[in-house]
């Protein structure tokens, strides 16, 4: 028996095996696709509803596909608290920036920094989505999310120099992430078939 047990590796394995089912990717792709379609028909607010429903969608599929195959695990709460704190700070920063922009706009016209963000909206959106992926990479300990962040940033920064509408890039991003998710899901189902007997039934 090798006494040198690598706790970091065990922890990483617990996280990655729980998230190697591709369901996170499929959920993100569905939200991105919905946004793209809703932008195409000029109803982007409907995309927001898809975003809100994403959590239930994710939890439902996870319960249906992942838990019967790899079992149930509750990850430590400290990490969840840290993530909630980061999300809260990001939300507050966004809200303060929004209020600041609103006050400045109503008192003395659209401020320069806001005009800058609007002028470079492709880069602004790209960076915002990339930050969300980075947060996801940290939260779920999944290195592939860094790749999605890089892909998003590259795609949207590149998109700034091209003339295609925003929803084209969202659809392309959604397609790539969905393909990755479906591939992972197929591999996961193959790797972890449903057990025929359960310990609890004994």
């Amino acid at each position: 028996m090798n006494q040198k047990i690598n706790m970091k590796q065990i922890e990483r394995k617990a996280y990655t095996s729980y998230h190697e089912d591709g369901i996170l990717e499929i959920t993100v792709a569905v939200v991105v696709f919905t946004f793209a379609i809703m932008m195409m028909i000029d109803m982007p607010w409907l995309g927001g509803i898809a975003g809100a429903l994403a959590v239930s969608f994710y939890a439902g599929i996870k319960k249906l596909v992942t838990i019967p195959r790899i079992g149930y695990v509750r990850l430590p709460v400290q990490r969840a608290q840290k993530i909630t704190a980061i999300a809260l700070v990001l939300g507050i920063v966004a809200m303060v920036a929004g209020m600041f922009a609103f006050v400045q706009t109503t008192s003395s016209g659209v401020p320069d920094w806001l005009l800058f963000l609007i002028d470079y909206y492709m880069i602004t959106i790209g960076v915002a989505v990339a930050v969300l992926f980075l947060l996801g990479a940290y939260a779920f300990k999944t290195t592939r999310m860094y790749a999605y962040a890089l892909l998003t940033a590259t795609m949207f920064v590149g998109g700034y120099f091209l003339t295609y509408p925003l929803y084209y890039y969202l659809a392309a991003l959604g397609t790539i992430i969905l393909a990755a998710g479906l591939f992972m899901l197929a591999r996961f189902i193959n790797k972890y078939p449903k057990p025929t007997q359960t310990m609890d039934a004994q």
Binding site: M1, Q3, I5, M7, I10, E11, K13, A14, S17, I70, G71, Y72, V73, R74, L75, P76, V77, Y192, P195, Q197, T198, M199, D200, A201, Q202
Partner: protein, 109 residues
């Protein structure tokens, strides 16, 4: 100094090693439960590669030692068993790690 005391000094941290945790399968179970909040048998089986019978017998020993809490509940009318390290189990595992490190540090090159 008594002969026993002298012997203990020579052995360093070895006598402090917790024999319940030191068994390979139990060590693996403890290590996996240490990094999560709680998990069920299936998760442990997938992570450790141990058979269910093996997990079951070792979990019983760890439960008897007070290192693991076993909680049985019904989810969607199906029985479900959740395992969690107790406070004592967490402390014992931490102590085991410290002692093992000490044992290897004390060994000559």
């Amino acid at each position: 100094m008594s002969p026993n005391k002298a012997n203990d000094d020579e052995l360093g941290a070895i006598p402090k090693i917790d024999k319940i945790i030191h068994e390979p399968a139990r060590l693996v179970i403890m290590a996996h439960l240490f990094v999560v909040d709680s998990a069920d048998f299936l998760f442990l089986q997938r992570q450790t590669g141990l058979t269910w019978g093996n997990i079951s017998s070792h979990v019983s020993k760890l439960e008897n030692a007070g290192y693991i809490a076993v909680e049985k509940e019904f989810i969607d009318k199906k029985p479900h068993t959740t395992l969690q390290l107790t406070k004592e189990g967490r402390a014992a595992f931490q102590e085991y790690r410290t002692n093992m490190k000490q044992v290897f540090e004390d060994l000559p090159e």
